[in-house]
Symmetry: C2
Subunit: 341 residues, 2 copies
C-alpha cells in the first residue's frame, strides 16, 4: 500500500487557502488543486512548477491489423519521429507550456534504427499479438516493461521532476486500454469501447467484438493486474503503469492524460493500492472507458475540451491550470493583511 | 450591427486544422478556439497571444447597504488597492500567465485619493443608489460610463492589445448584474439570483427580493439596454459594456469572465447586435445568471472550475488554453509532411 500525501501538510495548505483575500471557496477547483499540490509536494505553499516532465510510451498493437483503427500501424513509428522533430501536437503544447518531453519506444513494430539509441533503450518487443486471439505478450515481457517504466520514473525524479505526466502513442492502443479498463472494472465491451481516432460504425462494431472476445478469452485472469497487462495490454502500457506506480511510491504528483494514461493509472492502483492519491486528472477525453476509470479512481478532470488525441496532450494543456493553483497559494495576500481599519 | 469575423479566414483556418498531423476532430475545443482566434485576428495561423490585457472596472453598489453581500462595501476600495499592489488573486494569475492588468475606478464609494490619478481618470460617481428603490444612476452617468469604457478599449487596442478581458470589483455587483441579465432575458429574480461571494439563506432571500423589486420597479424600461444600465446597473458595469461593445466594433477578440463580464457582454450584444461573435467565454462561474446569459449568447465556457471570484480571474486562468489553441495551428506538422512512403 502506497503512503498517502501528508494530511498535515494538506491541512496547513487549506488553512492558508481559507485565509486568502478571497471569499471562502471562491477559487473553486483551483483552491482544491493547490491543496493537493501542497500535500503531494510536501510544501505550503507548493513550489512553482518549473520542472514538469512528460514521458511518451510508444508501442504497436497486434489488433491494429484487425480493422480497429482509422490509421495504419506505420503511423506509430512516423509519430515517434514527429515527436523527436518537435512537430507533433504534444510537442507544440509542451513548448508553449514549458514541459519537457521524453519519447520512449517500448514496443514499436519498427527497428527505428534512425532514431537516437536512448529512445530505444527500454525496447521490450516489436508490437503485440492480437489480444482477441492470444495474449499480447508473455509475462516476462510485462515484467520487463513494468521495470522499465519504474526505472524511467526514478530517472526523471532524480533529474528534478516536480510533476510527471504519462503520454502514449500506438495505433490500436485504445482497444487494449479499453479492454484493460473493462477487465479492471468488470464492465462489458459495449460500455468501454470508444471511437479512438475517429472510426466509423463498422469499425466500431469490429472493435467492440475484438474487446469482447479478448475479455472472454482472458476470463478470470483479469482479476490480476499483471496478467491483465500480459493478456490485454502491451509493453508501452505496462511501462506507463510501472512509471505511474513508481511515481506514486516515490511521492511525486502525477497529472494523467486520456484513456491510455488513465487505464494505466487504474492498473497502477490495482498493483499498488493508494497510488491514485498521487494522481490528478488533466482532462476528460471522449473515450467512455476513460470516464469509467476516472470515476473508479475518484478523479474529476481539470479540462473538458472534447479532446481525443492522446500523446499526453490533454494533460499538458492542463499544466497551466495547476500553475494557476500554485500561484494563488503562493502570491495572494491574506485577508488579514488588506482589510481596512 | 457589428461586422462578423471573416468567414473566409475561418474557412482557411479550418482547412489548415483539418490538414494537421492529428486525427480529424481530435483536438476538440482547442481546434475550434484556434479557428475562432484566426477569424477574429484575421490571420491563419493566428498570432501568438503576447499582448493580452485585462481591465478591471471597479465601483460600489447601493444595494450593498441592504444586506445582499457577505462583505461590507469598504472591501471594494481595499481590493482596488490590493490590485494596485499586485497581491490580489487576479494579480497573481495575470503575472503567472503574462496578462497586463489595468484597474479603473468608475464608481468606488471612496475618494481613493492615495491611488494614482490614472486609476480615477474615468470616475463617474461614488457608488450607485439602491436599485430596488430607485434608479442606480441618471442616464447622463450611464452615457459617460459607456463612453469611458469605449475610450479604454480603443486605448488598449491602440497600445497593441491582441485580446481583451473585462474584470470587475464591487461589493454588491452580482445583485446588479443578475438584475441586468433578468431584464435582458425576461427571467424572474428567483432564477437569476445567486450566492455571489457566498451568502447564507437569509441573505439569499433578501437578495432575491431586491432583484425582484428592482425588476418590478423598472418594468418595460428593461427593454432598452441603456435604460437597463441606468436603472439596474452602475458606472462600472456600463463602462465594461462600452468596453466590450467597442472591442467587438474594432474587431478585437474578447475573453469573457464571470457574471459581471457576461452580463455586460449580453448588454453589449443588445446595444450592438453581433458583438458576441467577437466574444468567447473564459469560464463557467457558479452564478445562475451567468449560465443563462452565456446560453443566450451561444457561448460555451472554456473552463468549469467552480470559481466565483470575479476580478477577471476565470478569464485569465483560461488564457493558456487559448495559447494552446494558437500553438496547435501554428507549430504542428501537416499530415502530408510526415506520412511515411
Amino acid at each position: 500500500v502506497i503512503t498517502p500525501p501528508s494530511t498535515d501538510v494538506a491541512a496547513r495548505a487549506r488553512q492558508r487557502l481559507n485565509g486568502l483575500a478571497t471569499p471562502p471557496g471562491a477559487l473553486g477547483r483551483l483552491g482544491e488543486l493547490a491543496v493537493w499540490l501542497a500535500a503531494t509536494t510536501g510544501r505550503v505553499p507548493p513550489p512553482e512548477l518549473r520542472d514538469v516532465r512528460l514521458v511518451i510510451f510508444a508501442g504497436d498493437h497486434g489488433v491494429a491489423a484487425h480493422g480497429v483503427s482509422a490509421y495504419p500501424p506505420a503511423i506509430t513509428a512516423a509519430m515517434v519521429r514527429t515527436f523527436l522533430s518537435g512537430k507533433a501536437a504534444v510537442s507544440a503544447l509542451a513548448r508553449a507550456h514549458g514541459v519537457r518531453v521524453r519519447v520512449l519506444d517500448l514496443g514499436v513494430d519498427d527497428d527505428l534504427a534512425d532514431v537516437p539509441a536512448a529512445v530505444r533503450r527500454f525496447k521490450v518487443r516489436r508490437g503485440t499479438r492480437p489480444i482477441h486471439i492470444e495474449d499480447a505478450m508473455c509475462s516476462m515481457d510485462t515484467r520487463k516493461a513494468l521495470a522499465a517504466g519504474s526505472a524511467v520514473a526514478l530517472d526523471e525524479i532524480a533529474g528534478g521532476a516536480q510533476l510527471l505526466i504519462s503520454g502514449d502513442m500506438g495505433i490500436g492502443n485504445t482497444t487494449a486500454a479499453a479492454a484493460m479498463v473493462a477487465a479492471g472494472l468488470g464492465l462489458p465491451a459495449s460500455e468501454v469501447t470508444g471511437r479512438g481516432t475517429g472510426i466509423d460504425d463498422i469499425a466500431m462494431a469490429r472493435k467492440t467484438r475484438v474487446v469482447e472476445k479478448a475479455l472472454h478469452r482472458v476470463g478470470g485472469r483479469a482479476d490480476d493486474p499483471v496478467e491483465t497487462l500480459s493478456a490485454l495490454g502491451s509493453a508501452d502500457l505496462a511501462a506507463a503503469t510501472g512509471y505511474l506506480a513508481t511515481a506514486a511510491e516515490a511521492g511525486v504528483p502525477v497529472l494523467l492524460d486520456g484513456l491510455m494514461s488513465v487505464a494505466c493509472a487504474l492498473t497502477a492502483e490495482r498493483l499498488a493500492p493508494g497510488a491514485a492519491n498521487w494522481f490528478t486528472a488533466g482532462h476528460r477525453s471522449t473515450e467512455p472507458a476513460q470516464a469509467f476509470a476516472l470515476s473508479k479512481l475518484g478523479l474529476e478532470p481539470i479540462l473538458d475540451l472534447n479532446m481525443r488525441l492522446g500523446e499526453g496532450s490533454g494533460a499538458v494543456a492542463a499544466v497551466p491550470v495547476l500553475r494557476s493553483a500554485v500561484t494563488l497559494l503562493r502570491d495572494v495576500a491574506l485577508l488579514s493583511e488588506i482589510t481596512p481599519g
